[in-house]
């Protein structure tokens, strides 16, 4: 009950954002749909008379459909940058197949006796198309448009990853921040939107065959009307920031930048997967990166000094279930072998090799183990038991669990299975507490701010001190969740604001306060 109330309160409190996101979502869906119909419908009609071309066109559209949506968005970045344009382009490609295929199926499915009699009565090709084929194929075509709409409402959530807005901002922010209300505030409207649009289109589809002639007119008008809600939010800014959904909702993120630094910067929401590249390509100027990220080096970015310390320390350490540690006493010594071994620059280097040089995390991990003399051949056999390692989806975590796998298998009789790619903090943490994995590498700051979420009074005295933070999370996790933080690995992968080195130097920005001053001076001048 209280959960519902909280969700309602959250939605009310965030109603401005929610409205913006919903409008952006409808806009993205409808604009892409209009384009897909405008191109798919004529194409479907055209191939209906050309069986061989049809095979090729449907094949290509089918292949486009199989590209994972996030990958398709990724392909769009180098071509179209970030923002609404690549998102619409990707959504358009997804909507294309159902529109083309259903148009094709609908038109070729019209009883040949009917089209023949139409021709025999002296109707021209166009008259047959408009008066006979299209109206009779319309229910099937509409079914295709409905499919495309539902697909697009779903895929449009991913637009949040490339700064195109939409309800995905809440959904992915919520997943990253372990905030159920935020997830639901995005997911519920998205689901309702899919149901609503599908329902509206179903009304058209159920209209008697006879009225199909009118549908052919009303539908495009409505779609274009919906699309016009959406004015592409692209004002050209002097300095544009791109923050991850997670960063947007964090006290040690965008919220803290506003409250502590009074930093007021035009911001778009974007996935960390494309953020660095977008900064490098001057699509963004300030991004919320991680200080050990390999792309920092690859794209020649610099971190701005956090002169008012809003970013707490993020020391990585293995987070392990206590029942597992008790059951396999040989586990902890093996894991502790890594303690203090990797510092910031080593971690950045390892990340660089994976992120930029595209080496496999397994290979990077093995090379590192060999170089440090930590590698031992796996002790064969799984009679000792199985340890399930989890990881979030980014290079650093992949490298770390590969290192841990080698350490465990080389130094104990335990066998390791890995569960990589557990979306964000919430997914990893839930998997751990629900006994689906036994351990994963976590960061002290994340444990503190995302999972424990202490009030400001508790937070203030400890936040700047790495040891105090570590002791706090270790104690709380043990008490509340029966989870142990083992000794930190050594590096601090804290949040940081980053800029291109050249731009930072030319504007003489070294700290976040410098950035703030630069922005308020700019605003003054206008």
């Amino acid at each position: 009950m209280s959960e519902q109330l909280n969700l309602w309160q959250f939605m009310l409190q965030q109603s401005d954002k929610l409205l913006d996101q919903t409008i952006a979502h409808i806009g993205l869906t409808c604009v892409s749909l209009v384009i897909a119909v405008a191109i798919g419908l004529p194409l479907g009609i055209w191939i209906a008379e050309r069986k061989r071309t049809a095979w090729v066109v449907l094949g290509i559209a089918g292949i486009l459909q199989t590209i994972p949506s996030i990958a398709l968005l990724g392909f769009m970045i180098p071509l179209l940058g970030i923002g609404a344009l690549p998102a619409i382009a990707a959504l358009f490609l997804y909507a294309l197949l159902p529109v083309i295929r259903n148009t094709y199926t609908g038109i070729t499915g019209v009883d040949p006796a009917v089209t023949e009699s139409a021709a025999a009565m002296g109707m021209s090709k166009w008259q047959i198309l408009l008066n006979v084929q299209l109206p009779l194929a319309m229910p099937v075509i509409l079914a295709g448009i409905r499919t495309a709409t539902v697909i697009n409402v779903g895929v449009a959530t991913l637009a949040a990853y490339i700064a195109a807005g939409g309800l995905g901002e809440f959904i992915f922010g919520g997943i990253a921040l372990n905030n159920t209300n935020m997830i639901l505030a995005g997911a519920i409207p998205a689901a309702l939107l899919a149901i609503l649009l599908d329902f509206l289109l179903s009304l058209f589809q159920k209209a008697r065959l006879k009225r199909m002639r009118k549908v052919a007119v009303i539908l495009p008008v409505l779609l274009i009307l919906f699309s016009s809600f959406y004015i592409i939010p692209y004002a050209k800014e002097k300095i544009l920031a791109g923050f991850t959904p997670e960063f947007m909702g964090r006290e040690d993120g965008s919220l803290g930048l506003k409250s502590k630094y009074k930093l007021n910067i035009p911001t778009v929401v974007i996935s960390d997967a494309v953020m660095y590249k977008a900064a490098f390509e001057r699509k963004l100027d300030v991004i919320s990166g991680y200080s050990t990220d390999g792309r920092l080096k690859a794209y020649d970015l610099v971190t701005l000094k956090d002169d008012k310390t809003i970013f707490p320390p993020y020391y990585a350490a293995p987070l392990v279930r206590q029942d597992v540690l008790a059951k396999y006493p040989q586990l902890q010594p093996a894991l502790d072998l890594l303690s203090g071994v990797i510092n910031d620059s080593v971690m950045t280097e390892l990340n660089y090799r994976v992120d930029y040089e595209k080496q496999l995390p397994e290979k990077v991990a093995l090379d590192f183990m060999l170089a440090k003399g930590l590698y031992k051949k796996p002790q064969s056999g799984s009679e000792g038991g199985v340890i399930r390692l989890g990881s979030k989806i980014f290079a650093e975590q992949y490298i770390l669990i590969n290192i841990y796998k080698m350490l465990i298998e080389g130094n104990t009789n335990l066998k390791v299975v890995t569960r990589t790619g557990l979306g964000g903090t919430k997914i990893c943490f839930d998997a751990l507490t629900n006994n689906e994995i036994d351990m994963y590498p976590e960061y002290t700051g994340t444990g503190l701010l995302v999972i424990l979420k202490p009030d400001k009074k508790t937070l203030d005295p400890i936040i700047a001190d790495r040891n105090k933070v570590f002791d706090f999370v270790r104690k709380k996790f043990s008490d509340q969740y029966q989870l142990s933080w083992l000794k930190p690995i050594g590096f601090n992968n804290a949040y940081a604001l980053m800029m291109r080195r050249a731009q930072a130097q030319s504007l003489n920005i070294k700290t976040i306060s410098d950035l703030k001053n630069y922005l308020s001076n700019e605003n003054h001048q206008h």
């Binding site: 009883d111 006796a113 009917v114 023949e116 009699s117 139409a118 021709a119 025999a120 009565m121 002296g122 109707m123 021209s124 008259q127 008066n131 006979v132 109206p135 009779l136 065959l209 006879k210 199909m212 002639r213």
Partner: protein, 318 residues
């Protein structure tokens, strides 16, 4: 008047129609008869250019059909196909109005004409005008399809197995209605069928086709009594008696029939066939019936016996 000269049609090297020529006089019905795959439907569709022939010439009422735009040509030719081809999203009235609309008739004229046709085809206007094809029975659909083909009163009508999809009982009923329809009497009609009895009942002339060519052309009587080749002979062999009796009209044997008693009421016309006479006699369980010849205004008498003896006489003489 339709004149087809030396028309041929190749489909990817296979000759579907081989060098066919025929004529249909104004107001007459030509039946293209043959088994499936004999090229009869292809021949029919060449006449309104649904299929373009590989070679040959066709003139309809003196005009070369290939000099016209296909759409224009087709608007002046009625067309009825086996599966009615009615537009499922149009009402009966809208279906009938299609060609008049294409021709730019005004609303009032279109309505009058479709109501008139529905009445002629014994379909109540109030009940049927607003119905959709899927609410009609097979026989009703074919009647509406005929009304649609006749809507703009075209001089020429092409029919592709118009009764092919109907059950035997409906088929007989609809066929009878077609025969009695005054509008059809003045039309030049080409009709395709594989049903021999239908061909005999409806055709003034029959083109018997096989493997893309014409085997024999002639009246029903010529075909049944004077086969020119083995194919023609065999084609009719298994229902010969009925066909022969269908091909013979009372007026053909008028001389052989005894005069009727004065004042007896005629229930048959001399243009009807001996078969029809036998059927009526059997149906009414009567010894005797009277036949009237409207041209000479004479009435004659028939019994099963007279029909039988005249028929045997004719067979013997041939």
């Amino acid at each position: 008047m339709i004149i087809a000269q030396n028309i041929s049609k190749d489909f990817n090297g296979i000759q579907a129609v081989k060098d066919i020529s025929f004529q249909v006089k104004e107001g007459q019905t030509l039946v293209l008869l043959g088994t499936s795959g004999c090229g009869k439907t292809t021949t029919l569709k060449i006449l309104n250019r649904l299929i373009e022939p590989s070679s040959g010439a066709v003139r309809i009422n003196g005009e070369d059909i290939f000099s016209l735009k296909p759409e224009m040509l087709r608007r002046s030719i009625g067309y009825v196909s086996q599966n009615s081809g009615l537009f499922p999203h149009y009402t009966v009235a809208e279906n009938i109005a299609i060609v008049p609309k294409l021709l730019g008739w005004d609303q009032k004229k279109i309505r009058q004409r479709s109501e008139d046709l529905l009445r002629q085809l014994k379909l109540s206007v109030t009940e049927y005008a607003g119905k959709y094809p899927d609410e009609l029975s097979g026989g009703e659909k074919q009647r509406v399809a005929l009304a649609r083909a006749l809507a703009s009163d075209p001089p020429v009508l092409l029919m592709d197995e118009p009764f092919g999809a109907l059950d035997p009982i409906t088929r007989a009923a609809v066929q009878k209605e077609f025969l009695e329809l005054p509008e059809l009497k003045s039309k030049t009609i080409v009709l395709v069928t594989h049903d021999v009895q239908e061909a005999f009942a409806l055709g003034d002339q029959i083109c018997l086709m096989d493997k893309g060519g014409i085997m024999q052309t002639g009246t029903p009587k010529e075909l049944i009594f004077g086969p020119e080749n083995e194919f023609s002979r065999n084609f009719f062999s298994h229902q010969r008696l009925q066909l022969e009796l269908s091909a013979l009209k009372f007026k053909d044997i008028w001389k052989e029939l005894p005069d009727a008693k004065r004042g007896s009421e005629a229930s048959l016309e001399s243009a009807q066939s001996l078969w029809e006479g036998m059927e009526l006699l059997a149906e009414n369980n009567q010894e005797m019936l009277s036949v009237i010849n409207a041209d000479t205004d004479s009435v004659k008498e028939i019994t099963i016996q007279t029909i039988q003896s005249v028929y045997l006489e004719i067979k013997r003489n041939r």
